[in-house]
Assembly symmetry: C2
Homo-oligomer: 399 residues x 2
C-alpha cells in the first residue's frame, strides 16, 4: 500500500509510545544487525544468498538485502514476483511449482520484463508436465514478442528441479527421477537447467541441533547422489539452492549447496527462538513485534487487543516480550481480536488497564501478511522513535 | 480495495472455471438463502438482529443485511466502524472494549458523523475507568464541536455493560458489578446506558446441542439476575444483546435477549458444520470456499496451492468440498502456501495435476480477513458465472 494512506502515516518522527495498537513494529537496529550478520556469514562461507521475500513481502527490504550482498530474492507466488519486478527487483527465483496456464504466461512475461535490466527469472519444477507447460508458455511469449516486433533477444528462464529431501511435500524423488526432468528441460530452448531446489522445511524447526544435523546430512546425501546421476549423463549439475534460517549453517558447511534461501533471520520469531542454537549460527536477534494494549482487567487475567487477526498462530501463540521491569506473562488464545494474558509461573502482578505490551509472534511470515505496513523503529522499543513505515507490498499476493 | 484494481477484476461475467487460484469464492445463491433464513427466523421470534460485520468486513454485504431487515451491524474495532461509516452504514455497535484515548476520540467523532443521518453509535464497557475515559472523549468532542460553531445537538453514545457469562475473557461479573457500571454510565450526559452485552463465544462451538443448551441456560440465568439487580436500582434494564450462529436459537427463545449478533450464518465454515444441529436452527448452507489447484502429484499425496495464507487454521484445517464425482480427500497442513491432500478412508484415486478443488475453511472470519476481494458466483461452483467482486473493505482494520 501507499504508506501515506496508512492510519499510522502520521507516526514518523514520533515516539514509540504513540503507536496505536495492535500494530506490527520492526526494531530497525536489530534488523540491520541481523542483515550484517547474514552478509558476513555468507562471505565467510563463500556461499551466495537469495533471501526469501515471502517473509517480508517488501520491495524496500528486498532492495536493502540486495545492497547487503544478496544475489536477488526468492518468492513463492507469481503475484509476489510481479510486485517485486514492478518495484525494481530484477533477479527473482519463484521457488515453487507453477501449473496454471494463465500464471505461466505471466511468468514468461516477467522474463521479458527483467531482461532489459540484465535480470533473470528462475522457477522450480517437479513434473514432466510442469516442464512442458512452462516450455509452451515461454514459446508463446517469444512468438508474441516477435509478432509485436520486439527486437530484443528471446528470453530464457532458469529452471531448478525440485527434489524431495525429507519434507514429503513437493519435489521428485532424488536420483533418477530428477535426471529425467533435467533431460526434459534441456530439450526446450527457452528453458535452462539451472540445478536443484533442495529445501527441507521441516528441518528448520527441529529443536535439537544434533537432530537437525542428522536431517540435513541425509538431505545432503540425497543431493550429492542426485548430482552424480546428473553428471553421469554428461550434464552440468548446476547450482544447489535451498536452506532456511533454522539449518543454514549445515547447508553452508555441506560443500554442496551454492545458495542459501534463509529469510526469517531478518525478523526472527518465537518458533525459531525455541531451536537449540548451533554454535556456528549467527546470533540473530528478535526484530519483529506486535505492539498491543490491555483493554480489560480481571482478577486472574487481563485481555489485550491483539488476537490472531494481528499475528499468525500456526506455529503457536506469541510470547510476551519481557523487559525486566514487569511480571512475566503467558499468552492464551482469545480469538480473532483478543489475547488472554495470565501470570507466568513465579509472577504475580498483572498489568493494568491501558498498559502497552509487546508480543513476539510465533511465525514471522504469515504474521507480516496480516498487515499493510510495518512500523520501523530506531532507538529501541521503550524510548525509540518511529523512523519510517515499510509497506508490505505483496501482502495478500496469493496467485 | 477498489475491486477494479484486483487481479480478479476481469472475471466478472466469466465462468467459475476461469477463477485463478487460490481465491476466496462466495456462492451468492447460498448466501442469499442464508440471509433469507435469518431474516425469517428473526421475524418469527420477534427479535431484532445486528449481524457481526467483523466476519465479512464488507460495506456491500452490510447494506444487504440491513435491506434484509438487520437493525444495523456490530463491529469489533474502531477502524472497522470508521470504514463502515465512510461506506454509508450509520447504525453501528462496537461490541468491544476501547481504551486508548486516541481511539476513543475517533469513536466520539463517529457519533457526530452518523448523527446527521439519524444514525447511532454504541459501544461496550467493562470497567469504571473505561466509562470515565469514554465520557471524557465524548465531552471533549462536544466541546470541540461547539468551539467550531457546529450548531447540531450534542451527540450521545449508547453504552452496553459487558458481563462475563461463561467465556472468561472480557466482561464484569454478572450481578452487582454490572449495576455499578450502569450507575456510573448514567452520571455522564453524553453516555446513555443501553443494556447488557452478554456474548458467550465458547458456547458457539460446543458440539453437542444439549451441552449448548446447558451453557446458554446458565448464561440466561446470569443475565436475568443482573437485569433484576439493575431494575432494583430503579434503572431501565435496556436491551440484552449477544449470541452467535452456534447458539442463536437458544438466545432467541430465552425471552431475555432482544438482539442477536450472529454473523457467520451468511457464509458458514467447517467448524460450525461440526456442531450437532439444534432442530430449531435454520438450515444454513456453506457459502464460502477457497478455490485451489493441484500443483504437485505424488504416489501417496498431492499438493495444492492454498496454504494458511489463503485460509485461517485457528479452528482446524479446511475440508475438501466433495462433489460426488471425485474421491474424498483429507487436507493436511503444508505450510503458508501449500496444502497436502491424501485420500480419505475408502477413497483411492488422487486428483491429477492442475485439477481444481474447493476448500471449506475452518473459520470464516479470519479467512475473509486474508483476502482483498471475495469473488461472488451465481449458478453454483461447477457451472456458475462470476457475478461480482465484493471488496473486503475492512480487511486488516486492526486499530
Amino acid at each position: 500500500m501507499n504508506t501515506s494512506t496508512s492510519p499510522h502515516a502520521q507516526l514518523v518522527g514520533k515516539p514509540v509510545h504513540d503507536i496505536d495498537t495492535p500494530a506490527l513494529v520492526i526494531d530497525l537496529d536489530a534488523m540491520k544487525r541481523n542483515l550484517g550478520r547474514m552478509s558476513e556469514f555468507a562471505k565467510k562461507h563463500h556461499i551466495r544468498w537469495r533471501p526469501h521475500a515471502k517473509m517480508h513481502k517488501s520491495v524496500l527490504l528486498a532492495k536493502m538485502q540486495i545492497r547487503a550482498g544478496a544475489i536477488g530474492i526468492c518468492v513463492q507466488k507469481t503475484a509476489e514476483a510481479e510486485i517485486m519486478v514492478a518495484g525494481g527487483i530484477h533477479n527473482i527465483y519463484i521457488s515453487n511449482q507453477v501449473i496454471a496456464k494463465s500464471k505461466l504466461a505471466r511468468v514468461a512475461m516477467l522474463t521479458q520484463a527483467v531482461a532489459p535490466h540484465g535480470g533473470q527469472i528462475a522457477i522450480a519444477v517437479d513434473s514432466l508436465e510442469g516442464v512442458t507447460r512452462l516450455a509452451e508458455a515461454m514459446t508463446e511469449a517469444r512468438t508474441t514478442a516477435r509478432n509485436n516486433g520486439m527486437s530484443s533477444a528471446p528470453t530464457v528462464i532458469d529452471v531448478f528441479v525440485e527434489i524431495d529431501i525429507g519434507q514429503a511435500r513437493c519435489g521428485v524423488d532424488s536420483g533418477v527421477a530428477a535426471v529425467m526432468l533435467a533431460l526434459e528441460i534441456r530439450k526446450h530452448p527457452a528453458l535452462r537447467f539451472a540445478g536443484l531446489q533442495a529445501y527441507h522445511g521441516k528441518a528448520q524447526h527441529i529443536r535439537s541441533a544434533q537432530e537437525r544435523r542428522v536431517a540435513i546430512a541425509s538431505a545432503v546425501d540425497a543431493v550429492v547422489m542426485t548430482r552424480q546421476f546428473i553428471e553421469s549423463k554428461g550434464i552440468q549439475a548446476g547450482l544447489v539452492t535451498g536452506s532456511g534460517t533454522g539449518s543454514m549453517v549445515l547447508e553452508a558447511a555441506s560443500g554442496v549447496y551454492g545458495e542459501l534461501q534463509a529469510g526469517s533471520f531478518m525478523f526472527m520469531d518465537a518458533d525459531y527462538a525455541q531451536n537449540e542454537r548451533d554454535p556456528a549460527q549467527p546470533q540473530f536477534e528478535q526484530a519483529l513485534y506486535v505492539k498491543t494494549q490491555v483493554i480489560s482487567v480481571h482478577s486472574d487475567h487481563v485481555v489485550c487487543d491483539a488476537g490472531h487477526k494481528s499475528h499468525a498462530i500456526d506455529s503457536g501463540m506469541p510470547k510476551v516480550h519481557f523487559f525486566g521491569a514487569q511480571s512475566e506473562l503467558d499468552y492464551f488464545n482469545g480469538g480473532d481480536e483478543h489475547g488472554i494474558l495470565r501470570c507466568a509461573a513465579g509472577s504475580t502482578r498483572l498489568p493494568g488497564l491501558g498498559q502497552m505490551l509487546w508480543l513476539v509472534p510465533g511465525h514471522c511470515d504469515p504474521t507480516v501478511n496480516l498487515h499493510d505496513v510495518m512500523i520501523g523503529v530506531k532507538g529501541g522499543l521503550r524510548h525509540g522513535t518511529v523512523d519510517r513505515l515499510i509497506s508490505v507490498d505483496a501482502r495478500g499476493a496469493l496467485t
